[in-house]
Symmetry: C2
Subunit: 338 residues, 2 copies
Amino acid sequence: MADVALLAGVSVSTVSRTLRGLSVVSPQTRERVERAAQDLSFAISRSASSLVTGRTRRIAVLVPPTCSWFPGTVLSGISAVLGPADLDLLVYEVASMDERAAFFDRLPARRNADALMVVSFDLTPREHDRLDALHMPVVLVSQHAEGRASVYIDDVAGARRGTRHLVGLGHRRIAFVQSADPSGFSWSSKDRLVGHRQALAEAGVPCDGELVVRVAPDDRASLEAAVDRLLGLAQPPTAVFAEADDVATRILGVLRERRVAVPAQLSVMGFDDQDHARWLDLTTVAQPAREVGRAAAGLVAAIVDVPGTDPSRHIVLPTRLLARGSTAPPPPGTGGGG
Amino acid sequence: MADVALLAGVSVSTVSRTLRGLSVVSPQTRERVERAAQDLSFAISRSASSLVTGRTRRIAVLVPPTCSWFPGTVLSGISAVLGPADLDLLVYEVASMDERAAFFDRLPARRNADALMVVSFDLTPREHDRLDALHMPVVLVSQHAEGRASVYIDDVAGARRGTRHLVGLGHRRIAFVQSADPSGFSWSSKDRLVGHRQALAEAGVPCDGELVVRVAPDDRASLEAAVDRLLGLAQPPTAVFAEADDVATRILGVLRERRVAVPAQLSVMGFDDQDHARWLDLTTVAQPAREVGRAAAGLVAAIVDVPGTDPSRHIVLPTRLLARGSTAPPPPGTGGGG
DNA sequence: CTGAAAGCGCTTACAG
DNA sequence: CTGAAAGCGCTTACAG
């Protein structure tokens, strides 16, 4: 900055004011300073400015591995909004309980970001306490808590809508497949079972415990066993609602091997609307993951830059049913009358 | 830090030395300082230390949208290595040519990171010049350039291996489906066609231009038209090699609709080994995306922290063929003799 | 509208 | 082994 000042023949104060766009600078001076900065391809040191302003213009994001659809998509949405707001994005990825504990123990984001976004996994009470100790604005994404800024979808309502679709097609025997994450993290998607049960109840369909199964992701054997168990029931399901599209797609894979026609013999639906759901013509409850990220980033930007923003605002984004080719009425004679 | 010094009854110099782990500090003093830091849950300001050391301990990563498999997975690998190396990860996502131009124009990473990683897309000569103007170590990921640190796979060899697999099964009419990215970005995956042609040549199979098609991702109609055109040829292909698994999966979707049995009537294979390839039992050429990210981050960490590291090292990671259920010998009577 | 000076919170020679 | 002091590159009152 001293170089720029020298070249432009002004003081560093003036360079600073010009580069921050303060209108107090005269047009001629501005012109000179801007040219000098350009010629030297000067880039400001945020470290130096942070030191005096106390703001880093950096947002920290705590996320599960971005190789998964939801975190990757949310991060993309966050990035799309933060960039134009001139806010940098600092990513802290945690894949295991140990890494998670290390993060909350050390809180590396502290003093190195102006706010923290926590994406996806449910926080423990102890983690909430640590967040309070951070003395930094926090925005929860895909989860929510009283008194904390939160951006999320209504998983219960979404799943209710999904099950209603199946019930509306005439299904009475509907399996629900949950996903058991070996990382030990808890996700809001667990609430989808609640919505499923509500829809069953409102339709007067009894909820059969045999029809609710839980599989480990990436464990092909466990999934095959679960599917075979369902198909082998005295009254097998005529539809399967999977907690997430990736589970649904894996079920589709197993059913193809078992030569079970979808949807002729069995309807399958998922939740999320991941890319492959569209490719495979899978009926699903779409959640706007990218929008969730964008809304959360917008909220963070407002909290950081707009005085008076409610720091504990909740934003709930809508889900929507995408009826595609993997669901149809149950085959005749399967006791649709339940 | 002054607070910690006060509480521990030492100077800030000593606090600084203790917290940085310099062995020069006496055990008793270290003990006292560490307790004080703990009690005040002190976190160092990297802005302040950067200012004097000139190092930020931050790595900037320029990536295409992380909602796609490859960038998301690479980023995850990078993150897994950077964290333990005590390096923060600054993400700059670019989705369009405009955003890309803006990044190279402003170079926001400048002075705010110790190195830059550029993931996935091929750089133009002008962009390379801008990178030189950055005066910062640069690591190329999934692409390579003379004189620049690069971590990538051999796309040509990988594709060669894929086509050899099909040829080995007896296929002579093999379609190749390329992906045309509307963003205008160029990716190393374009080289896969070269490998395909090499394998064809070495097997003495003529390369029929009709069998090479190009589809726009997310354009269902364009894909359907391409598949129908291939199926309608006088001598239709008995196998399809898609440039990437997502394309292969979409082809699988279209074929199911057209009631073409895979692999009985038509073999399909992809490239990448994305999650859904496994779920759908898709034969593919696997590339270790996560390892690519890890290796690149390891190289960056070494360049930044280990004096004498070759700043233009190239690391080539292996691909491997995963023969699964979507490929089989061609159906009898399809002119396998070619 | 512009400049001189202090100070943000660290690290690093330099003494001792 | 420890401390006092200078200085990193900015921003921000304070004068003028």
